[in-house]
Symmetry: C2
Subunit: 73 residues, 2 copies
Amino acid sequence: MNAVENNIKKKFGARVRTLRTEKGWSQEDFAFECGLHRTYIGAVERGERNVSLENIKKIADTFKIDIAELFRS
Amino acid sequence: MNAVENNIKKKFGARVRTLRTEKGWSQEDFAFECGLHRTYIGAVERGERNVSLENIKKIADTFKIDIAELFRS
């Protein structure tokens, strides 16, 4: 696992955490809305998950933003 | 697998194909540059793969664009 790959997971996780906390959602609320497990969301936010397209789409839809927005720094 | 999930894989695959062909790259050239297998790139372009963050990042880096650009329709 090189630094770049690790970085994208951390960067994505930090972005999800920022957007979630801006909305005032707990990980539990957010996970429920996404249809994903709370522990999975926690791992995503810590940069520990190599998230797939379909889950990226679920996360973006829950935030009601398009996927490109999720990757805007 | 619902239509929305299937759609994102097809949409992403079509976007990769458009960007690759605009550059005049064969699937083989592109796969080599990405460090991914040619058959994998073919499946991604047909919307058959639930591509992960790390491979999305490899694809974007090979196109020398940021990931957000990959998801712009």
